[in-house]
């Protein structure tokens, strides 16, 4: 590390401790300040996260790719018209806009076991990178298990709870939403999956189960499909989702 010294930067002697954590330790210093290289690394991570928050879904492309699953795919929007409104009014992101609601109603979808929904959430990047793999895996496994599927719905500016309205309009017994999670500095492409039994407007987060951090470096999409399938099977067995379904997991209960 000696060559760094010529820039006036003093490295820390405890570099070896980096083996124990991903935290930004042993950054070194110039005076009492963070060396530029580290400051720029931080900025880059933040830039990725910000870009993810403001990324948009390419609806046509997603629709085309998902059509390969053999199910009809519909595109809808929430009542949050643009991103800044979405960020400040989570209540609007949970509601379908009027035209979208009418559109789903007109489909007059026959009763189905499961409805799969995909929404941008706080990171469209996460959806672009992970959703296709998870949806196609799910469709395949769900059909093997003998459950029936409602049309797939893509949502722009959507929050988790929008699944309640969609699931109920499509007469689904259970709804799954795949949604971009709030980007962290070390993960801007992380997708979450929420599962709600008997979806209907007015439910709260206590009635859902969640699998988070779905991405290649986190919970790999292939494994996520298996975990979601496990939850689906238990949900149908006990005819519920939410806190009670996971009563054995202390961590999930207390962080709810």
């Amino acid at each position: 590390m000696n060559e760094i010294r010529k820039a006036g930067v003093e490295p820390d002697e405890w570099q070896s401790l980096k083996a124990y954590t991903n935290a930004r330790i042993a950054l070194g210093r110039t005076g009492v300040s963070v060396p530029l290289r580290e400051a720029l690394q931080f900025k880059l991570a933040h830039a990725h996260a910000k870009d993810a928050v403001y990324s948009a879904l390419d609806m046509t492309d997603l629709q085309n790719q998902l059509a390969a699953c053999g199910l009809p795919v519909y595109c809808v929007r929430s009542r949050a018209i643009h991103r800044d409104m979405y960020l400040q009014r989570p209540d609007l992101g949970r509601l379908l806009d009027e035209r979208s609601a009418e559109q789903l109603q007109q489909i007059d979808s026959p009763a189905a076991d499961i409805c799969i929904i995909v929404a941008d959430g706080l990171s469209a990047t996460a959806i672009t990178q992970n959703a296709i793999q998870v949806v196609s895996g799910l469709v395949e496994k769900v059909q093997q298990t003998g459950f029936s599927l409602a049309p797939i719905v893509l949502v722009e500016q959507g929050r988790v709870a929008i699944m309640d309205a969609i699931g109920s309009l499509l007469n689904a017994r259970l709804a799954i939403i795949l949604i971009g999670e709030r980007p962290g500095l070390s993960s801007f492409d992380s997708m979450g999956a929420y599962i709600t039994y008997a979806p209907r407007p007015g439910l709260t987060d206590e009635s859902r189960n969640c699998i988070s951090n779905i991405r290649e470096q986190g919970l790999a999409p292939v494994l996520a499909v298996d975990n979601i399938m496990d939850l689906i099977r238990s949900a149908f067995r006990f005819q519920l989702t939410g806190v009670q379904l996971k009563a054995d997991s202390n961590a999930d209960l207390l962080s709810a």
Binding site: D12, E13, W14, S16, L17, K18, Y20, T21, N22, A23, R24, I25, A26, L27, R29, V32, S33, V34, E38, F42, K43, A45, H46, A49, K50, A52, V53, L87, Q88, R89, P90, D91, L122, R182, P183, G184, L185, S186, S187, F188, N250, A251, L254, S255
Partner: protein, 459 residues
């Protein structure tokens, strides 16, 4: 009671003190989300003009949340100190603002006044103050507390070392902790947010912290931020608990959503005292707050988020806390949208808590979906340093890898200490000098002593 203000022939009416306070509040997204904001810039100023004329005695008669249905209101009313209030009892809210800025309101006078102020009075006056007013008055307040060292002395600023790890891995936590100690952080406390709230995991972390603190004779205190019921259980099992943590809010209903009430906090406070672990003093409660928490649990009862926040300080005040921390930007853009709103809220929270006599510090922070960045944090950090904040957070590189948000770093703390000539808590500063970690000027030194500290971990 109705309040009004006429501007250019139009009369704005406000049906209650609650509505008046909300409409007079500087703009923030959380109040808009709750449907409480003024409809126009003019209405906001009209509300501020009307609020300025409200006598302080009105606040003793008109509760924003009914006495009968809310134990926080009962606490506020029942513990109001009439004698302390008397010297300002003739003032209006506007009069209080002018008096606070006057030279007559010096440190001792403000300390004596604190128990005479209700949170609603303090919230009201803050709404009439500019950022510089909030800084100037806060700087006159001095709130000193003690456990194993001394916090809040003028000219000193402490740091909570926050060595979080996504899986609570002991070595991962220790690595961040050593990094922080070698950068002169950790005098406010070494405080871990556990990834899980299980008693076993919390206990393991507490023993680990205690062992490291003992081995290197560090004059500081530790805390694992588990729910107060978990901490109570651990105290019964004689686990080494220094500080007792809990998140609190400003309404009974919001506190219920946190799984707490005032008698539970009292029980936890007394349990903490029973361990007698403080060597210099017995302030041991550590509370965290933040604007928007009441609304997020749908428990704001029509009260604006800043007034709710200050009511939480009335809760904190009842237990002589060691430190209080407003986690200002953690809650997200639906409550505080951008850097401007976060900075304003941070200065309000610090001012209001100090005026009420609390040892206030701040987690100067933001999430990635808020319109803020590290430049905004630098601004708020510098302003709070000037205002005399008791402590800030120290997180490796300002990046919390467990909670996924950005705060302030060990380097940031050294920056603000250097530009403002602030020093660590005196007992901790002595330790840093003895260990050869820092010199008198706050520069980090290289020495054998440091090597022992991290060799202990690696070896």
């Amino acid at each position: 009671m109705t309040y009004s203000c006429t501007i250019r022939g139009f009369t704005y009416r406000f049906d209650s003190l609650r509505e008046l306070l909300a409409k007079a509040s500087p703009v923030r997204s959380g109040d808009a989300l709750a449907g409480l904001v003024a409809d126009s810039y003019e209405e906001r100023v009209a509300a501020q003009i009307a609020l300025a004329d409200v006598p302080l005695t009105v606040f003793l008669n008109e509760a924003v949340i009914p006495y009968e249905t809310d134990e926080v209101t009962r606490l506020i009313v029942d513990t109001h100190h009439t004698a302390a209030f008397t010297p300002i009892s003739h003032l209006t809210v506007g009069g209080l603002r002018d008096w606070l800025l006057s030279d007559e309101a010096d440190t001792v006078t403000l300390q004596q006044l604190a128990p005479g102020l209700t949170p609603e009075m303090v919230a009201a006056v803050s709404k009439l103050m500019r950022n510089q007013d909030l800084i100037l008055v806060a700087q006159k307040c001095e709130v000193v507390t003690r456990f194993r060292n001394t916090q809040g002395l003028r000219g000193h600023m402490a740091v909570r070392l926050q060595p979080n790890h996504p899986t609570d891995d002991a070595k991962g936590i220790a690595a961040s902790m050593i990094d922080g100690l070698l950068y002169g952080s950790g005098d406010a406390m070494i405080g871990i947010n556990p990834a899980t709230d299980s008693p076993a995991a919390t206990s393991r972390l507490l023993f680990m912290l205690d062992e490291l603190r003992e081995r290197f004779a560090i004059p500081t205190q530790s805390c694992v931020l588990s729910h107060v019921t978990t901490t109570l259980q651990l105290i019964e099992q004689r686990v080494p608990v220094d500080l007792v943590f809990q998140s609190i809010a400003g309404t009974e209903k919001a506190n219920a959503s946190f799984g707490i009430n005032l008698s539970l906090l009292q029980e936890a406070y007394e349990a903490g005292l029973s361990l007698q672990r403080g060597t210099l003093g017995s302030n041991l409660m550590y509370f965290e707050t933040g604007q928007g928490s009441a609304l997020s649990s749908n428990a704001h009862l029509g009260v604006d988020q800043q007034t709710c926040e200050v009511r939480a300080y009335a809760v904190a005040r009842a237990y002589q806390p060691f430190l209080v921390n407003s986690v200002v930007g953690f809650i997200g853009p639906e409550y505080l949208f951008d850097g401007k709103q976060i900075i304003r809220a941070g200065l309000e929270d610090h001012f209001c808590a100090k005026l009420m006599g609390l040892p206030m510090g701040m987690d100067i922070c933001y999430t990635n979906h808020a319109q803020a960045d590290q430049d905004d944090m630098d601004t708020l950090l510098t302003l709070l340093g000037v205002a005399g904040v008791n402590f800030i957070m120290g997180i490796p590189g300002a990046d919390d890898i467990m909670l996924n948000y950005q705060s302030t770093s060990f380097h940031d703390a050294l920056y603000v200490r250097r530009v403002l000539g602030l020093r660590p808590a005196p007992e901790f500063e002595d330790w840093l000098l003895r260990q050869g970690i820092m010199d008198q000027q706050g520069n980090r030194l290289s020495s054998q002593a440091q090597k022992q500290l991290y060799a202990a971990l690696v070896g």
